[in-house]
């Protein structure tokens, strides 16, 4: 960035909300994808006008701008890969209004999903998307990446809950997409286009979300199965039995073995896989659903089925699921964590496919994740100090993507493309579709100054 641009930026922000110090540039240089890129400056905006002024300057001076939330993304979406200015939204985090009677809430993008829930709770409503990072990731980040989560089986993903967005275009102009009502079909659905756009089209400054009443009762069920197939078949039967769990998590033998080594959860030695389910709704309905589900599970040979009703008991069951990540971390120094999504009906084929990739390339692959929506977390376990294993690991990842696409699925269910999967996008999208997307990007951002280097492979490279 040119000195002139930095001087102009300094006049937009008070001194404590703009910095070029190496310490501040380091602390906005990374995210959960474990890459690092250094920006030239960082600012902490608090108003739409500040963001608009920044983009006006950026168009004029030609520097790149990268919106950032909590830096919890898995695909590098917020990283300043080309240098320029990072806009860190963690201090633009006000809750503007809760309108439970309209089933809506309006807030600034920097609020964490955890804070949002805490704030909505007294009104008896909640915001359904719940990515694993929900207690620290920001709403802006969740919208930019279209975050999913455990409850997607029943409630869907972030895109299903965004009603309207106030956003700043790369030119500095301010737009408001949609209306803050639950139904509106006036013109193209720009809101849906912005959700999941990974900060490449416009910068969000205000977001109106749809909220739902907090369910009266929640019940969790955990059961073990002989192998991958039996658990997946059971999951499919549950969904076919007119039962709708809000969460349905799958864990394979590898995950269970790792977790058992990590801590004693009383997992039966012969267990080859597990399903963890959760139901919510009116107390009587939930009890009935859980009971019917227990029947289906026992028909599929589930053993050691546990039912948890109180918060503490449920927490105990979820600790098992949450321990997988730290347990895997001890298993191998690095894991390549992929989040492919396949149609639920083809889960068995997908898992069998991943197993054969693992055998063919002799790398450990451990699978767990959201059986209820086909979004499986495929963890390729490698030792970064072993270059050959690392190479085989990356090859395994490519083959996992190809397998998912072949089965009619997607290379990313909820983490986004960011800068880490740009090379694989063409596995899923046709040249025509890719070109249409590139054209859209040019309409919004003709100068290519907003979050460059994301989603698409650079032209000419």
């Amino acid at each position: 960035m040119r000195k002139q641009a930095i001087d102009k930026l300094r006049s937009v922000f008070p001194p404590q909300r703009f910095s070029t110090s190496p310490e501040d540039l380091i602390t906005c240089s990374y995210d959960a994808s474990r890459q690092e890129f250094r920006a030239d400056a960082v600012a902490w905006p608090q108003t739409t006008d500040e963001v608009s002024e920044v983009m006006r300057l950026a168009s004029l001076e030609g520097f790149a701008v990268y919106p950032r939330g909590a830096g919890s993304g898995m695909s590098g979406g917020a990283l300043p890969v080309r240098g320029g200015l990072v806009l860190d939204f963690c201090k633009m985090n006000r809750l503007i209004e809760s309108r439970p009677e309209d089933r809506l809430a309006v807030c600034e993008p920097g609020i964490t999903l955890g804070e949002l829930q805490k704030w909505l709770k007294p009104d008896g409503v909640f915001f359904p998307p719940d990515p694993a990072s929900h207690d620290f990731s920001t709403l802006g980040g969740a919208v930019a990446e279209c975050a999913g989560g455990l409850r997607a089986v029943k409630y869907g993903v972030t895109r299903d809950y965004i009603v309207s967005i106030e956003a700043v275009l790369p030119s500095g102009e301010i737009i408001e997409t949609g209306r803050t009502v639950l139904k509106s079909v006036a013109g193209y659905d720009i809101t849906r286009l912005l959700v999941g756009s990974e900060g490449t089209l416009a910068i969000f400054t205000k977001i109106a979300v749809r909220v739902l009443p907090i369910p009266e009762k929640v019940i969790a069920l955990l059961g073990y199965f002989a192998g991958d197939d039996t658990a997946v078949k059971c999951a499919q039967s549950i969904l076919a039995s007119r039962i709708l769990p809000r969460a349905m998590e799958f864990m394979d033998r590898g995950s269970l073995e790792c977790v058992s080594r990590y801590r004693d959860f009383g997992i039966p030695g012969e267990a080859g896989s597990a399903l963890l389910l959760e139901f919510d709704g009116a107390a009587s309905a939930v009890a009935d659903e859980a009971e019917r589900c227990e029947d289906v599970m026992s028909k599929h040979g589930a053993s050691n089925v546990r039912r948890a009703e109180s918060d503490e008991e449920r927490e105990e069951l979820w600790t098992l699921r949450r321990s997988i990540s730290p347990a895997l971390f001890r298993h191998a120094p690095i894991k390549l964590n992929e989040d492919v999504c396949v149609p639920i009906s083809r889960l068995s084929e997908a898992l069998a496919g991943f197993r054969s990739i693992s055998e063919r390339l002799s790398v450990d692959i451990i699978n767990f994740g959201h059986a209820g929506d086909g979004n499986i977390h495929v963890n390729v376990m490698v030792d970064e100090h072993d270059p050959d294993e690392l190479r085989r690991g990356h090859e395994a990842v490519r083959q996992v993507y190809e397998a998912a696409v072949r089965l009619g699925g997607s290379i990313s269910g909820e983490h986004g493309i960011g800068n880490v999967k740009t090379g694989f996008l063409s596995l899923e999208l046709s040249p025509v579709e890719l070109e249409l997307m590139r054209s859209l990007k040019k309409v919004f951002d003709p100068k290519g100054i907003l979050n460059p280097g994301k989603i698409f492979v650079e032209e000419g490279s």
Binding site: S21, P22, D24, Y30, S72, K91, F136, S325, F329
Partner: protein
């Protein structure tokens, strides 16, 4: 611990950001350089030479409360104690420590009489400045530019309990007093010891025990800590006790967790004997309670006790018997006095202290109990500032008030699993 251990631990961080959800300092400041992930990345850059020891870097490292909430909640199992003390030691190595501080850490802490005299001097000086309320005397800490200092009592806990238990017989435990209880809350230390004695124990309080080393850890002087640890090991194990009971959450955390992991296995034996006061009572005590009215008491979790030692159920079950226990909102949120933040970032400390005082007042309790003299100090300070008359007590004092007798449960063979 050497530099390789530190680098390996820094690499263990998965950069997920979970610590942002739990760090009290981050929640107040929203500043990534003041949360474990940011400090870890800055420390990595510092070790690689990517950033120098600037004021900003010191601020980042010194703003840590050492509450260990991040460590207890870290999905990757980063040993944050090793990280924060390791960074401080690395930074301290590359920059000379002020002579007075060096004298205090390397000499004064080892010289009990001299330390006593120094504290007396501070105590006398503090009398010359205006008092604030009954308990606290304020002396502007001109050296560090901060708020105040606690009142120093005329007689220390160690001198009050000189020679105690040395002539009696029976199962022996050693009581570790810690500096803050020794100089500021000697009566709480005495109450803890009396409770243990009423169980039929022989309680020895060696007068030559030294500071656990927590301040030296915070300032990065690992050599001073090592020397303190060796002397403490010798003194505390001299009477071959079945346990070393500690009334201060910080001292207990340092003795049982930080000695072995930062200084090495030679301290594993000492560490395995350490028990926090309420943990020891839960394990071994059978207490008979008197019939007088039970006061309404709430409990504040000292960070070091809950997050570093996983002790939170024990004090509560004790208080349920000893008093009319009520839980307060956010009982496990830091009071704001951890580490050296009270001195270096009084604004953050004040925000946390004020919130804590409000939680205590909203609970409707007549008294708040805790198991750390540092927390007691901060609670007294902020309750006073809020105009509240709620008493602050060490949990040992609450037990002592209603206990009429008791006996010892047989020692169980199983290890508690907290080491």
């Amino acid at each position: 611990m050497d530099r390789q251990d530190l680098e390996a631990e820094l690499n263990r961080c998965a950069v997920c950001g979970k610590c942002r959800a739990v760090c009290p300092v981050f929640i107040e400041t929203l500043d990534e350089s003041k949360v474990a992930r940011g400090r870890i990345r800055l420390a990595s850059a510092y070790l690689r030479g990517g950033v120098s020891a600037t004021k900003k870097l010191s601020e980042s490292v010194n703003s840590c409360l050492e509450c260990f909430r991040c460590e207890a909640n870290c999905p990757s199992g980063v040993d944050y104690g090793l990280v924060i003390h390791g960074i401080r030691a690395e930074m301290a190595m590359r920059r000379p420590m002020p002579i007075l501080l060096r004298f205090a850490l390397r000499r004064l802490l080892f010289w009990r009489r001299g330390f006593d005299v120094a504290m007396r001097l501070v105590s006398l000086l503090s009398r010359a400045v205006p008092r604030r309320g009954k308990r606290l005397r304020y002396l502007p800490l001109f050296v560090l530019g901060s708020g105040g200092m606690p009142a120093i009592k005329r007689r220390t806990a160690l001198s009050r309990m000189r020679g105690r238990g040395e002539s009696s017989a029976g199962e022996t435990v050693v009581f570790f007093v810690g500096c803050l209880m020794n100089y500021t809350y000697p009566e709480a230390a005495e109450d803890c010891v009396e409770v243990l004695e009423q169980l039929g124990l022989r309680v020895v309080v060696p007068e030559d025990q030294l500071c656990c080393g927590a301040p030296a850890f915070s300032l990065g002087d690992l050599e001073a800590v090592r020397r303190l640890a060796r002397r403490n090991q010798e003194v505390l194990l001299r009477h071959n006790p079945s346990a070393i009971v500690v009334g201060c959450a910080t001292c207990a955390g340092v003795l049982r967790k930080e000695y072995p992991r930062l200084l090495g296995d030679e301290f594993a034996g000492l560490a395995s004997k350490v028990r926090s006061f309420s943990e020891f009572l839960a394990e071994r005590g059978e207490i008979d309670w008197g019939s007088e009215r039970r006061t309404k008491v709430t409990y504040h979790d000292p960070c070091r006790l809950k997050w570093q030692q996983d002790i939170h159920a024990e004090p509560r079950s004790l208080l349920r018997e000893a008093a009319d226990f009520v839980e307060m909102e956010d009982a496990d949120m830091c009071c704001g006095l951890g580490g050296i933040i009270g001195l270096l970032h009084p604004d953050v400390s004040a925000k946390l202290g004020d919130k804590k005082a409000r939680s205590v007042m909203d609970s409707g309790a007549e008294a708040v109990a805790t198991e750390c003299p540092g927390c007691m100090l901060q609670l007294e300070d902020w309750l006073l500032a809020s105009g509240s008359a709620i008493e602050v007590k060490h949990i040992g004092q609450v037990v002592r008030e209603r206990m009429v007798g008791g006996r010892l449960r047989r020692k169980e063979k199983t290890v508690t699993g907290r080491q």
